[in-house]
Structure formats: C-alpha cells, structure tokens
C-alpha cells in the first residue's frame, strides 16, 4: 500500500520489484479486458435497446439470431462489413475517411480511466493483486483522470463535425452543425457539474474519486446535493445525442444527420462509437456520483460479497445497467425537443443552475475548511442563498428584456 502512495502517477506496478513478465501480463490483461468490455458491451447495448424498446412498444424485437436474438448485432455488424463502401463524388476523400475514426477512438479511450472493479469490501481501497502485482482494476490512473475524459469528448466533436462537412451534401452538414453546436453548449454545463464533484472529492483521478465515496452518505450524489447529478445527467444525454436530444439525426428533417452519406464499415464505426459512448458515459456518471464499484450496504450487508474480488465489478455493472435502462426508457417515452428549446435548456437553465450551485458548494467548502461555528456556517449558507437569488432575479430580468427586444424586432414565439 505504501508503494501506491509513493507513486501516485502512472500505474503502481511499473515500479514494483518482480519478474519482468508480471507487469506485462497485468497490462496486457487489462488492455484485453477493456477492449473486450468495450466491444461486447456495445453489442449487448444495441440488443438491449432494441429489445427493451420493442417491449415498451408491444413488439417482439430481435429474436431470430441466437438465444433471445442476442447475436442480432453480430449479424448486423457482419452484414455491414460486407457492404460496399461508398464515397460520394463531392466528398472530401481524406477527411471523409478519417472522420469515423475520430469518433470511434475517443469513445474507446474513455474506458481506460474508468475503474472497472476492485476490492472495496470493508473499507478497502480497491486495489487487487494479480500475478503478485498490486494494481487497480483500471487500465490507467493518470493524475488528470477526469480531464482526460473531457478532452476525449471534445475530440469526439471533430468526428461528427468533419463527417458532416466532408460528405459534401446539405443534410449531413446541417446535422453536423447542429451536433457540434449542441455538444459545445452542453459541454459547459457538463463541466460545471463535474467541477462540483471534483471540488468535493479534492482530486481529479478517477480512482481517487471512487475512494472518496466510501459510504452512501459520501456518494457525490448526496454530498454535492443531487443538483449537479441531475444537471450532469441531462447534459450527458445531450452530449451523447440521445433522445430526447437527438436533433442531430432528426430523421424527419435531416434524413440521417451527419452520417447520411456513410455506408458499410464507416457507418458501423459511427454506430459503434455512439453506443459505446452511452455505456462509457454511464460508467463515468456512476464513477463520479454513485461510487463506481463501491458496494452499497443494504442493512449492513453487501449482496455481492460472495463474489469476493469481483464484487466491485458486479456493483459497477448493476449501477451502469440502471442508467442504460434509463436511456432506453427515455428513448421510448420522451418526444424530441425543438432546437430553440434545446438551446434554452442548455444556456438559460442548466448552465446558470450548475454555476450557482458550484459557487454555493465552494462557499460551503471554504467554510468547512476554516472551522467556523454553526451560526457562522448558517450565515454563510444564508448569504450564499440570498446572493444566488439576487443573481437569479437579475438573470430573469435580463432574459425578459432580451425577449421584449427581440419581439420588438419582430420575432414571434
């Protein structure tokens, strides 16, 4: 354990004294596991979504390939591989070819920093021993952890944007402009709610964030006061271009959105990236707010304790599942937003709320750090609330003025 504390960067095992093959075996195993989880998880997610939506709409859904139609995605993927790979005449060939990879690679890389399991039973810190190596069940634990995810999601915008532009046709371009505008707008709200978590946890590393949530009251869901969680959830749905925020591929208006002109394996890459992002972002949400692989003690009992070191993974899967189901549920029930509603929600609701909440949390953190008395603490909270209420009123007044001005110019709502 001392070893872990001494070398916070990189992977602790790189420094351990051992046989030369042991660290290599651990790294190789981790890479393999992350890769397999990414692909199998995506395959499963496509099937899961189709099956659940079918159930909600009183249909049967995929049921021919394999048991319960589980192999349907594999069949579809194989079919896509053998289709003709078309490049439109007006397309920009180089950018057109490279765009799917720009979407796909970041989706995959997010998995590298997500803690996929570990031994957290009885307050342990989540390290496990493989081949005589003390290590964490995550591919990499860089000190900037969560920032890496943000960086990757900002790179993912390129895939969408360049795909639409390079297709050389109208609808993909419109779709990609929409997509990138949406992703950039919601990234702000996402980042602000993320900042609340990082401030409470006091670290950027994902494993540190998980270790900070050792009991349910420490889960950032509760310790940051639910608001950042809700904002993060909505902003994340918009980042993922999932319903009800899937204006990017609003088929009534845009044919298929940015990937209209794509076919064959390039389309498959976009498709894969989209579903992989759903899983990896759900895993990120669970890591940030719900303790990741930390067990939940129901009446003092960890129900996955029987699985031993795999208990953490089981907990993570269970929590991620809940969110995957929620996404499918969203898709089956919620109607798509209009574009102005989308932008209003992002800029005028989510960003101000997360910013205000962040300031409140920061003030409380400072108060806690400087050991103030109960009365002072209450005063600080009260002062913050008054400040936020004033800011909210100013903000509303500004919105009203802006609306009146636009109406005076002839805008109709």
């Amino acid at each position: 354990m001392n070893l872990l504390n001494r070398i916070p960067s990189a992977d602790p095992m790189l420094d351990a004294e051992s046989f030369w093959w042991q660290p290599l075996a651990v790294v190789g195993l981790k890479v393999l596991v992350v890769f397999v989880i990414g692909l199998v998880g995506t395959m499963f997610m496509v099937w899961f979504e189709r099956k659940i939506v079918a159930g909600m709409q009183n249909r049967v859904g995929p049921n021919k390939a394999g048991p319960f139609g589980l192999l349907q995605t594999l069949a579809d993927g194989t079919k896509l591989f053998f289709k003709e790979d078309l490049i439109p005449e007006k397309a920009d060939p180089f950018v057109f070819r490279i765009a799917p990879f720009l979407a796909f690679v970041p989706a995959f890389l997010v998995w590298a920093v997500i803690p996929l399991g570990g031994d957290f039973t009885g307050g342990r810190d989540g390290t496990v021993t493989w081949f005589g190596q003390v290590t964490r069940v995550q591919l990499a634990d860089p000190p900037i952890g969560v920032l890496l995810v943000l960086a990757l999601s900002s790179i993912a915008v390129y895939g969408v944007m360049l795909a639409g532009w390079s297709s050389g046709s109208k609808y993909p371009l419109l779709g990609s402009v929409r997509a990138s505008a949406q992703m950039i707008s919601y990234e702000a709200a996402l980042g602000l709610s993320l900042a609340a978590v990082l401030m409470t946890a006091g670290t950027l590393s994902t494993s540190g964030i998980v270790s900070a949530q050792s009991s349910i009251t420490n889960w950032h869901l509760l310790s940051t006061g639910i608001v950042p969680f809700v904002v993060f959830l909505i902003a994340m749905t918009a980042e993922l271009n999932r319903p009800p925020f899937d204006l990017v591929e609003a088929e009534q208006e845009l044919v298929g959105g940015f990937h209209t002109e794509y076919s064959s394996i390039r389309f498959a890459l976009f498709f894969l990236a989209e579903f992989m992002n759903v899983i990896s972002m759900s895993a990120l949400l669970v890591t940030l707010f719900l303790g990741g692989p930390q067990p939940l003690y129901l009446g003092g009992v960890d129900i996955f304790a029987v699985l031993g070191p795999f208990g953490g993974t089981a907990w993570l899967l269970l929590k991620v599942f809940a969110f995957l189901y929620m996404y499918v549920w969203f898709r089956a029930t919620l109607p798509r937003l209009r574009y102005d509603q989308l932008m209003n929600l992002g800029w005028k609701v989510l960003i101000p709320i997360s910013l205000g909440w962040f300031i409140l949390l920061a003030a409380l953190q400072v108060a806690r750090d400087s050991d103030v008395s109960g009365l002072e603490y209450a005063l600080i909270v009260g002062g913050c609330l008054v400040g936020i209420a004033l800011a909210y009123m100013l903000f509303q007044a500004a919105l009203n003025v802006a609306r009146r001005n636009r109406e005076a110019e002839g805008a109709a709502y």
């Binding site: 960067s9 900037i144 943000l150 950027l204």
Partner: protein
C-alpha cells in the same frame, strides 16, 4: 525514450505547422493546426505537466479550433482560396518583414539564454501537484492579472456583439 517522444511530438508539431500554411483548403489547414496542438500537448505530458496537456487539448483543440471550423463551414469559405487577389497591397511584404523579425527575436532569445537551456529547473513539486501549484500561483500572486484577463475577454465578447449588431443598421435603437 524521452528523446523518442520528443522527436515524434516535434515531428507532429512541425508537420502540422507546415500543413497549416501549405494546405489550400481552410478545413485541412485547421486540421493541421489540431495536429500541432496535439504535438504540443504531448510535449507537455513528457514534461510531466499533465494538467497543461489536458487543458491544451480541451481548450485549444476542443474549443478554439472547433470554432474555427464552425466559422469556416458557416461562411462557406471551405474551398481553395484564389491567392492572386490581394485585398491589402501592403499585406504580403509586411508579413515577410514581421515573420523575419519574429524569428530573429526568437533566435536572439535562444542564443542569449543558451546557458540556462540545458538546466532542469526542479521546483521541488512532484508532477501531480502541479494543479495545486498552478492554482496557488494564479489565485494568489497573479490574481489581478488573472482577473483582468477575464475582464478583457468579457469586454471583447460584449464589444463584438455590440459592433456586429450596429452594422446591420436600424436594428439597435
């Protein structure tokens, strides 16, 4: 290993930089810029400035160049420009002069500071604490510069909005 990373990242930076000026198509040039910014991020990582590397990617590659691309796409200038037309006659000679002057300045700076280049300044801060150190320096020693910069940015944004709205004529009253 360090040398290998340095060489690879530098090749990325230089190739991207050449791409920015050599490509005729503005979108390709912007992609060249992304390559350069990534190369710089790799340099940051190899110098253990992980935070700066992440911010480099998030802010420059993720936001600024995306905005460039946005403007390029929306304005529809995404075709090769006709370079024979020159709006400002003096632009090109001026660009040459400024380019030579800047490279001269940088060369002079490197030559004068040559003795310190080889040294490794050890701040005594381990690689992971550089976020904390950065924050301390930004929010204590340099807090006024920091705040003034943010005010400057806001003023620039507001100014742009005001100016663009005035030009439409008759709209603002």
């Amino acid at each position: 290993m360090e040398l290998l990373v340095f060489v690879l990242a530098s090749v990325m930076v230089l190739a991207g930089a050449i791409g920015v000026i050599a490509y005729r198509n503005p979108v390709h040039a912007a992609l060249g810029l992304v390559l350069t910014l990534f190369g710089i991020a790799v340099h940051f990582v190899s110098m253990e400035a992980h935070f700066l590397a992440a911010v480099q990617v998030i802010v420059y590659a993720g936001a600024i160049v995306v905005l460039f691309l946005f403007v390029i796409m929306l304005l529809g200038v995404d075709r090769a420009e006709d370079l024979t037309v020159e709006p400002f006659q003096i632009q090109r000679p001026l660009a040459v002069i400024i380019g030579v002057a800047i490279s001269g300045l940088i060369t002079a700076a490197v030559v004068r500071g040559r003795s310190t280049l080889g040294e490794r300044i050890d701040s005594g801060v381990p690689g992971d604490d550089n976020i904390r150190e950065l924050a301390r320096s930004l929010y204590s020693d340099n807090v006024f510069a920091f705040e003034l910069t943010s005010v400057l940015l806001i003023v620039a944004v507001v100014g742009t909005v005001v100016l663009t709205r005035r030009q439409r004529g008759g709209v603002d009253k």
